[in-house]
């Protein structure tokens, strides 16, 4: 379990008036969702968390170690990122080689590499497709493949950028289970998402951004209990709350239908 400490961070793109500005943020939970509107700064924060671009001001520390000072190998072992668009990550001739590519930069033991690839492919259900050209896969399969490439390296921290996007329902379930498993086995998972139902059902902690600033940090129940920050972040509450409000004029916080049922069937 790692602790990410962000202090006094400023980042601005050249020729743009958008600025990401985070005074103090520590991410110490195993499952954290980052939410906000388009252009709120989520992706910029992710880019900074990969350590591949440096902020103009401030620093990011992971377990009290400055991210900027990690060697490329340490970085690969610490942080893995799964991008929104899987097509920009893939280039190898087969699914299997794709998973092997990053891994073989860290490991030299051929047997270990083989075993790891097998495991990674199995956990996303792509074993059968291991000899296929990655560009012949469907979009959800491509996305699962990019997850497998990171699973093979087994970093401490997983960054998922919009993992639910363009996935079908079975793949969404698979990824949810996978993320929960990672969190239970001592990894840290941070996910950018628009899907508030998913946040409400899956994430115990969340961070909301708006216009480059952190507007909320804490448990989802608190976030959704006051409509102001939700609106400020350009978001909608979980659908179950909308149903309760519109049908029963009930303005309490509910995260899932199960949550609603528990609170009501008791009486």
């Amino acid at each position: 379990m790692s602790i990410i400490q962000i202090s006094d961070l400023r980042y601005q793109y050249p020729a743009s008036d958008f600025q990401l500005s985070i005074n103090q943020l520590s991410i110490a939970d195993s499952l954290v969702a980052i939410v906000g509107q388009n252009g709120a700064g989520k992706s910029t924060l992710f880019k900074l968390l990969t350590g591949l671009i440096q902020p103009q001001k401030g620093e990011i520390n992971i377990n009290q170690q400055n991210l900027a000072r990690l060697t490329p190998e340490e970085r690969l072992r610490t942080i893995g990122i799964i991008f929104q668009d899987p097509s920009s990550q893939l280039f190898n001739a087969t699914v299997e080689k794709e998973v092997a590519w990053s891994l073989s930069q860290l490991e030299s033991d051929a047997e270990l590499i083989q075993a790891t690839i097998k495991k990674a492919l199995a956990s996303v259900g792509l074993t059968k497709l291991k000899d296929q050209n990655p560009f012949d896969l469907s979009l959800p399969e491509k996305k699962l493949l990019t997850i497998a490439t990171v699973l093979a390296i087994n970093p401490q921290i997983y960054l998922f950028d919009e993992p639910m996007m363009s996935l079908d329902w079975p793949s969404q379930r698979l990824v949810t289970v996978l993320i929960q498993h990672l969190a239970q086995t001592g990894h840290q998972v941070i996910a950018i998402t628009h899907d508030m139902d998913w946040v409400a059902a899956t994430f115990p902690k969340m961070v909301a951004l708006a216009a480059g600033n952190v507007v909320f940090e804490g448990v989802p129940t608190n976030f959704f209990s006051c409509p102001e920050p939700v609106k400020k972040a350009g978001l909608l509450p979980p659908r179950i709350m909308t149903i309760a409000q519109e049908v029963f004029n009930d303005h309490q916080v509910y995260l899932t239908p199960q949550d609603y049922a528990e609170k009501h069937l008791v009486h």
Partner: protein, 204 residues
């Protein structure tokens, strides 16, 4: 049933009307873009190569010699207009490269690594034969690449004919460049999904 280019306009340009499908019309700008990027990446990595014909190669392989030739031509015209005006005249070279790649590919000379070797030599020759007169007319025989021009200067200094010196200068550079581009194109083409290859083949 394939969508063919219908153009009923009474046009002054009809003399050079070439039958292009919509697929080829969108492939060519993409190929030109790839030429640009490949060239920029080669410069970024400080490679002693141009790589600026990678897109032209791929367009020829996917949609035939005409598509390749047009990609090459437009590439040099646009490049000439925006960055280096003199390179416009090398459009003729690019047309030659596009046609050569298209024919060689069609005849199966891009099937395996060994054959690509032969193809690269032929394409380099084509390119050199067309470029040398242009080099002589515009640059007194130089190519503008330092170490190629060093060879040129040495040969001229030893009273070797300017045409032969210019040819050597160009050929050495072209050989290296076309080897690199031909193998890159070969490796990349193998990776393209079958549906993509079929699409451009169908819509030629």
């Amino acid at each position: 049933m394939k969508a063919k280019n219908i153009n009923n306009q009474d046009s002054r340009f009809s003399t050079w009307k070439i039958h292009l499908t919509v697929a080829t019309t969108t492939l060519i700008p993409a190929a030109v873009g790839i030429n640009y990027i490949a060239k920029a990446l080669a410069e970024g990595l400080k490679l002693p190569l141009w790589l600026g014909s990678l897109g032209t190669f791929l367009a020829s392989m996917l949609a035939g010699p005409t598509a390749g030739a047009i990609s090459g031509f437009i590439n040099n015209v646009i490049y000439g207009l925006t960055l280096s005006p003199v390179s416009t005249v090398y459009a003729i070279t690019s047309i030659g490269i596009g046609i050569a790649v298209g024919i060689l590919f069609h005849r199966g000379w891009f099937q395996n690594a060994k054959r690509v070797f032969v193809s690269a030599i032929i394409i380099a020759l084509v390119s050199t034969i067309i470029s040398t007169p242009l080099n002589v007319i515009f640059w007194g025989g130089q190519t503008g690449v330092a170490w190629g021009d060093a060879i040129f200067a040495t040969m001229i200094g030893n009273h070797i004919n300017i045409w032969l010196a210019s040819f050597t200068d160009e050929f050495v550079l072209d050989l290296l460049d076309k080897f690199a581009v031909a193998y890159l194109a070969f490796l990349i083409y193998r990776q393209l999904p079958q549906r993509m290859i079929n699409y451009f083949k169908d819509n030629q």
